[in-house]
Symmetry: C2
Subunit: 251 residues, 2 copies
């Protein structure tokens, strides 16, 4: 698709970054672009279901999602799993590990993905050479924190049905925020087990509550995913407060 053919697995240059084009993301100055070109180590293609990072590991890398979806989770020794958040285009993966040493959570792909790869060791260099980009990294970390706060409110205080409503609106809203179509469809292939593990519910109960929301004509579950029937009522049910900024930085 690009001009340069003969190289195997040719990666997109930062100049042609598919994310930058999207109106949801901010533009880069020429300097920033130049820096990113050097900072970028390569691209990684991941299969659906593959493990991207493992709790306890020390990776030398740091990623930004170029396409696809993943989920971030923690496990207890006896197998209980808690999904803490999802990663979508424009999100960073592994920042925590870069800063704190060891990964405290695992990440797994929910779809085929392509990631932009950076060198963890060079992160400090980014702070040295581009305060703007450093500020963006912090902004991104701060946004993550914001989402986690809300997830915590959901898991701790919403009822099962509200939880599901919240999650659906959350995922839809985020997919819109990174420029994906999402006209009332949450195009993520999610298992009800994923929903359960995100919301702190059992699989069976999750299924029953999804069924109830379907009866109420708020959504449909089909093809291993969720279709929104009545966004407005879902929002109200979840007491959704929109708080998503317009233009956002990335990487």
């Amino acid at each position: 698709m690009d001009a340069t053919n003969h190289r195997p697995r040719q990666q997109v240059s930062c100049d042609a970054c598919p994310l930058r084009k999207r109106q949801e993301f901010r533009d880069f100055s020429e300097d920033e672009l130049a820096f990113m070109r050097r900072f970028k180590r390569g691209e990684l293609t991941i299969d659906k279901g593959a493990a991207i990072l493992q709790e306890g590991a020390h990776t030398p890398h740091l990623y930004t999602v170029l396409s696809g979806w993943a989920f971030r989770y923690k496990m207890m020794r006896d197998g209980r799993r808690q999904i803490v958040n999802y990663a979508m285009p424009g999100d960073m993966i592994g920042l925590q590990g870069s800063l704190m040493g060891e990964m405290q959570h695992s990440v797994e792909a929910l779809s085929p993905m392509t990631l932009c790869v950076f060198e963890r060791a060079e992160l400090f260099g980014l702070f040295t050479r581009s305060p703007e980009l450093a500020y963006d990294v912090t902004w991104i970390a701060s946004r993550e924190e914001c989402m986690l706060d809300e997830n915590l409110l959901t898991v701790g205080r919403r009822t099962a049905q509200e939880k599901i409503a919240y999650l659906v609106v959350f995922l839809w809203s985020r997919s819109v925020a990174c420029g994906l179509t999402g006209r009332n469809v949450v195009d993520i292939t999610l298992t009800q087990q994923h929903v359960a593990d995100t919301l702190g519910l059992s699989l069976v109960h999750t299924n029953k509550m999804i069924r109830k929301l379907a009866e109420r004509k708020l959504l449909t579950w089909s093809d291993g995913g969720c279709r929104i029937l009545d966004l407005e009522r879902l929002r109200r049910l979840a007491q959704w407060d929109d708080a998503i900024p317009a233009k956002r930085p990335f990487l």
Copy 2:
């Protein structure tokens, strides 16, 4: 206590910062110290129970806790409350608001506090002038994220008794990590309502489970706070995985 007497409410200079002396926190270079002296706007004294920040507000300030404790929480319209984390000496308050514009959570003091005050508008200046300090800010944000992940696991997947055990060990561990005595005492005056709102439990059930842990001789609840009787068993019950770094940056 300081040499300079006649000024009302004389604040401590960064050179004599009470946190810096503690071995738990990292040292500053002379440059960093110089920068902080200029960055610091003043000190704020807060009463127990006072609101430090309100959800939805736009404050021009950013804080670091010098002494005392606070909790960070979100509320739903119908009054349900979720405490998402606690702030202790060395923690920043309001970073999220600084980066994202509007506060997405509120903060309330659990004890008398003194805060170090910075100008939100100058945060970017910090990134420009000191990459090291900027990196520290990001590190701190990242650590917060790490705690939130674990809290999410707790609220979502631990049972009521495990939750309480977790919270007690968590608070104790954090109080140790910022250099407070905490020899088996969690010196935070917490209400059982706070515990309930942190863990996503009802007040009544929280009380009953605390009682049960007391019967099992794991802890005592007295004087509006918690005393640890058997740290090791609490850890095991909570499946606590220690993951707290030794030397940490602040502010």
